[in-house]
């Protein structure tokens, strides 16, 4: 098998793996379908915006949770936004943690207990996001190699 086919297979297999493990869902495929000659870097562009957005949101969430008196509505607003953007690019696992997170924010039970849950949630979110970013960056590197090799 030549280098190009190998790269393509790598790309295909890795995408399939990400789908199987739930990192990505159908929506990511929709993004890939939208990529064409008019916008050959569409997926990378959208995902790059997602990365920037996400890092800002995660920082905002962390800071909100560090306050003496936590404004859970504010935290919820950030999570809502994160949920939206992750759904838009097909980042299923990240999206699901956001949903879980929002349930806690909305419940607003005994603050201590649920503040604790919120902290765990944000950690989970940061973890899932970091994983996803890693995976997608790998995917894009392989794509780039394919292009560089004339594919």
């Amino acid at each position: 098998m030549d280098a190009m086919s190998q790269l393509r297979r790598q790309l295909h297999e890795h995408t399939a793996y990400l789908r199987k493990e739930g990192f990505l869902d159908d929506q990511f495929e929709q993004l890939q379908k939208l990529q064409d000659e008019n916008s050959p870097d569409f997926v990378v562009e959208v995902v790059s915006i997602f990365f920037e957005d996400s890092e800002k949101l995660l920082n905002n969430m962390a800071r909100a949770l560090e306050q003496k008196i936590v404004d859970f509505k504010q935290v919820d607003a950030h999570v809502h936004q994160f949920k939206g953007s992750s759904a838009s690019i097909g980042a299923m696992r990240v999206k699901n943690v956001c949903i879980e997170f929002r349930n806690y924010c909305e419940a607003q039970n005994v603050e201590e207990l649920f503040g604790c849950r919120c902290f765990r949630c944000i950690q989970k979110l940061q973890y899932e996001y970091a994983l996803l970013k890693n995976q997608l960056e790998y995917l894009f590197r392989v794509e780039q190699q394919i292009r560089a090799a004339g594919g």
Binding site: Q27, Q30, L31, K33, L34, D36, N38, S39, F42, E45, V46, I49, F50, D53, H80, Q81, K83, G84, S85, A87, S88, I89, G90
Partner: protein, 219 residues
């Protein structure tokens, strides 16, 4: 065959999320629409030439005059959850405006809340899309645009004694008088919007107004 897809209809997309704006823009462009994206309801109203104070007075000359719009908008698609003016607020303002109320409005939302959906449809939204929006959703926009174009054409033809533009009467008017009547009824019904039937493809109304020919603008 003169399919409507060859003519560039102009869609105004409203969403506070940059990612979603990029997505909807691409979806619409892929479907051959001209697109303008804005990030708030306020900016949408500005673009449409509607100002807070002169909603009820169509004689005031706004920055983008509506009677002879240089930039014609054929459909507005807006997110529901936005800070400040929500998509619902925007929908209401549009439907309350004598100059804008005929423009079809579609709402998008990431949340499936039946009461929210019903409220929007009752207020006159044509459709309610759940996010993330797909190409199959965008494919459903054309009938709403065409229906409005047909209605506009009919009104223009019945209003003028001379047809100043000199354009021929629509074929479709003669062929489907029943449909015309149905549309008139629909216009007065705010409920049951979700039951509107799609027009057949292939109707190609003559344009009497200048079409927006620019590239995508991002405000």
């Amino acid at each position: 065959m003169g399919m409507a897809t060859e003519s560039q209809f102009h869609v105004l997309a409203v969403d506070d999320s940059l990612i979603d704006r990029k997505l909807i823009e691409k979806l619409l462009k892929t479907s051959s629409y001209q697109v303008t994206t804005v990030d708030s309801g306020t900016k949408a109203l500005e673009f449409l030439g509607l100002h807070e104070d002169d909603q009820s007075n169509p004689n005031t000359a706004p920055v983008f005059p509506n009677n002879h719009q240089e930039v014609e908008v054929n459909l507005i698609i807006t997110d529901y959850c936005m800070p400040g003016m929500t998509g619902y607020d925007l929908l209401r303002k549009i439907k309350e405006s004598s100059s804008l109320r005929n423009i079809p409005v579609v709402i998008m939302s990431s949340e499936n809340v039946p009461s929210r959906i019903n409220r929007c449809l009752e207020e006159g939204a044509e459709e309610f899309f759940l996010k993330p929006v797909r190409l199959s959703d965008v494919n459903r926009l054309k009938p709403h645009i065409m229906k409005t174009k047909l209605k506009d054409q009919k009104q223009e033809n019945t209003d003028d004694d001379d047809d100043e533009s000199g354009n021929p009467v629509l074929q479709s008017q003669e062929e489907h008088p029943q449909r015309q009547q149905q549309q008139q009824q629909h216009h007065h019904q705010h409920s049951n919007s979700n039951k509107r039937k799609a027009l057949e493809e292939g109707l190609s109304p003559e344009r009497t107004r200048p079409r927006y020919n620019g590239v995508t603008t991002v405000v």
